[in-house]
Amino acid sequence: MAERYKTAGTNVETTVLGADEIILNMGPQHPSTHGVLRVKLRLDGEKVVGSECVIGYLHRGVEKIAEHRNYQQFAPYVDRMDYVAAVSNGLGYCEAVEKLLGVEAPPRARVIRTILTELQRIASHLFWLGTHALDIGALTPLFYCLREREEILKIFEKYCGARLTTHAFRIGGMQYEAYDELEKDVERFCKDFDKRVDEYEALLTENRIWVGRTKGIGVLTADAAIAMGVTGPVLRASGVQWDIRKAMPYAAYDQYEFSIPTGKSGDTYDRYLVRLEEMRQSRKICLQAIEKIPAGPILGKVGKVLKPPPGEIYHSIEGPKGELGYYIVSDGTTQPYRVRIRPPSLMNLEALDQMIRGHLVADVVAVIGTLDIVLGEVDR
C-alpha cells in the first residue's frame, strides 16, 4: 500500500495506518477557509495525501461586466475583488488605464496614492495576521490587529468617505484632494505603529505553540514557488527577493527607501516574519512620503470620455497578496474590449495542494491562512 502513495507527493512519507483512504470535505462554509473555499481532502488517517480545491462560489463575472461598462464605470467593481485591499486594486486598474491612454497622474496624486496604498497594505496584513492567528488558536492578536486597522480605515473614511470599498482613485489621478490633516493622521498612526508590531511579535514570535504550529509547515521552495506562479510575500518567504515596487516601480515608489524582506525556509513561520517586516517597511514608506507631498493638481488631463487608442496593456502592481495585474485590450471605443485580471490569490491558492501534502488536517487550516487568499479575488 505504501507504494500507492509514493506517486502522490514529492518526498512525502506516508504512513499506512491500516485505514482506508477517506475523502473529507472542508468548506465552503468552514470558518477557517476565509470565505467560500471548498477543499476536498484525500486523507490517510489524519494525513493529507491529496487535495482538490473547488472554487467559483463567489464568481460574479467581473471580467464580463467590464466589457459592458466604460472605463470609469468599471473602476468601482475592482474594489470588490480583494475587498480587504480595495485601494490597491483601484491603483492597479487606474494605472493600467492611464498607461493604455498614454497619460500619467500628476506627482502629487502619485505620492498620495502611494501613501494610501501602503496604508492599505498594512491594513491587509493586519487583517491577515489577526485571522491567521485566530485560525491557529491565538485569539488575542485579532483584537490588537483590528484596533490598528481601524485607525487606517478611519483615515480612508476621512479621505473619501468609505472604509472598505473605497474607490479612492480616478483614472488620471484622484478625485478628492487630501484633507488637511492627512499628514498628521498618518504620522500619528506611524509613530507608534512600530511598537505595535513589536507587541504582536511579543505575542507570537517566540510563542511555543505558534512556533510549533508554523515552523516547517507548508514548505515551498523557491523553484516550486516560481513554477507555481506564486508571488508576493509567499514568494519572498521562499527566498526570492522580488518586489514589483523595486523591480518595475510605479506610483512614487522609486523615490523612497525601503528593503524587501525575505525568508529562508519558505514555511509558514517565515511567511509570518516576512509580512511583519513588510508592515514595518510600509510604515517607513509612509513616513518618507508624508515628509513632502508635492503641491500641484491631483487630476491629470484626461477627458470625460475616455477612448484609448486601439491596443493593449499589461500593468501590474505589488498588491498585499502578490502581483496584481490588469491586462486590458482596447478597440478604440469607450468600453474596454477585454479586461483580464491577474489575481495573486488564485495562483497562490493553486500551490495549496503541494504545500499541504503529508501534513495533518489541522495544518491545512494554517496553510490556507498563511497564503492570505481572498475568495472575492480568486473567483472574481
Binding site: I55, G56, H59, G61, E63, K64, E67, H68, R69, N70, Q73, K99, L100, L101, G102, V103, I226, A227, M228, G229, V230, T231, V240, W242, A247, M248, K301, V302, G303, K304, V305, L306, K307, P308, P309, P310, G311, E312, I313, Y314, S316, E323, G325, Y327, V329, S330, D331, G332, T333, T334, Q335, Y337, R338, R340, R342, L346, M347, E350, D379, R380
Partner: protein
C-alpha cells in the same frame, strides 16, 4: 446585460464624434441597447496584423469633449513592429513560427503559430529565462477566421523583463498545453477552457474552474447570451415562458 441601456455613457458632443475619425466611425451602433454590443464593435482595426499598418493617421484618438484642455502633445500610443535582439533570437530559432513581433506601449509582443506553442514555451523558459508564467488568458474576436488570441504573459526574474506571447487559435482547434513547462498553467488553462472553450491538449485535468461543471456555453465569448440560457432554464424547469 439587460440594463445596458441605462448604464450607457453620457451622449458624446458632436465634436468628439467627428474627431473619432474613421476607425471608430460606426461607434454609434455598438452601443445600441440590448443585444451583444461588443460583438458588433469594430473588431477589424485591432487585429494585430492590421493594427500597425491600417491606421497610420490616428486622428485625435483620445476624443475629448470641447471643455477640457487639448490632449498631451506626444502621439497617442499604438502598436509598432519590433525588431530587437530578443525577437531576432526567436526568429532564427523558430523562423516560420514567429508570425509577428510588436511593441505596444513599450511592451513586447510575439505572435506565434499555435501548434508550436509548447516548443516555444519551453525555449522561453529554458533559454530565455522567462521562468514565471504570470498569466494565461484569451481574447475573443468572433469576426476573425481564428477567433481567439491565446495570451501568455511571461516574466523573467534574471532579466527583469516581460514578454507577451500570443497565438491565434480557431474555435475547436486544440492547443498544446504548457502545463508541463509552467505547472501554474494548470488552473489558468482550466479557466481559459471554462470561459472561452479553448481545448488544451495534454492537460492533466481539463474541466471548468470557476463555473459549475454542468454550465452551458462559454461566458467570455463575445457571442455568449446569458438571456437565452436563462429563458431555456425557466422553460425547462418552470414550464413557463420567461418574462425577461
Amino acid at each position: 446585460m439587460t440594463n445596458d441601456s441605462e448604464e450607457k455613457q453620457p451622449p458624446r458632443p458632436a465634436e468628439a464624434e467627428k474627431s473619432a475619425g474613421t476607425p471608430a466611425a460606426p461607434s454609434a451602433s455598438p452601443f445600441a441597447p440590448g443585444g451583444t454590443p461588443s460583438s458588433e464593435a469594430p473588431a477589424k482595426p485591432v487585429a494585430p496584423s492590421a493594427a500597425a499598418a491600417a491606421i497610420p493617421p490616428k486622428p485625435g484618438a483620445p476624443a475629448k469633449p470641447p471643455g477640457p484642455p487639448p490632449p498631451p502633445k506626444e502621439a497617442p500610443p499604438k502598436p509598432a513592429p519590433l525588431d530587437n535582439d530578443l525577437v531576432r533570437r526567436y526568429k532564427t530559432r523558430f523562423s516560420g513560427a514567429i508570425q509577428e513581433a510588436l511593441l505596444d506601449r513599450r511592451q513586447a509582443i510575439l505572435v506565434i503559430a499555435a501548434d508550436r506553442l509548447l516548443e516555444i514555451a519551453r525555449y522561453s523558459r529554458d533559454e530565455e529565462d522567462f521562468n514565471l508564467l504570470v498569466d494565461l488568458t484569451a481574447v475573443d474576436w468572433p469576426k476573425r477566421e481564428k477567433r481567439f488570441d491565446l495570451v501568455l504573459n511571461l516574466y523573467s526574474f534574471p532579466k527583469n523583463e516581460r514578454l507577451r506571447i500570443k497565438a491565434l487559435v480557431a474555435e475547436n482547434e486544440p492547443v498544446p498545453s504548457v502545463e508541463s513547462v509552467w505547472p501554474t498553467a494548470n488552473w489558468l488553462e482550466r479557466e481559459a477552457f471554462d470561459m472561452f472553450g479553448i481545448v488544451f491538449e495534454g492537460h492533466s485535468n481539463l474541466k471548468r474552474l470557476l463555473l459549475p461543471e454542468e454550465w452551458q456555453g462559454y461566458p467570455l465569448r463575445k457571442d455568449y447570451d446569458i438571456l437565452q440560457q436563462d429563458e431555456a432554464w425557466v422553460r425547462e424547469n418552470l414550464g413557463i415562458d420567461s418574462g425577461q
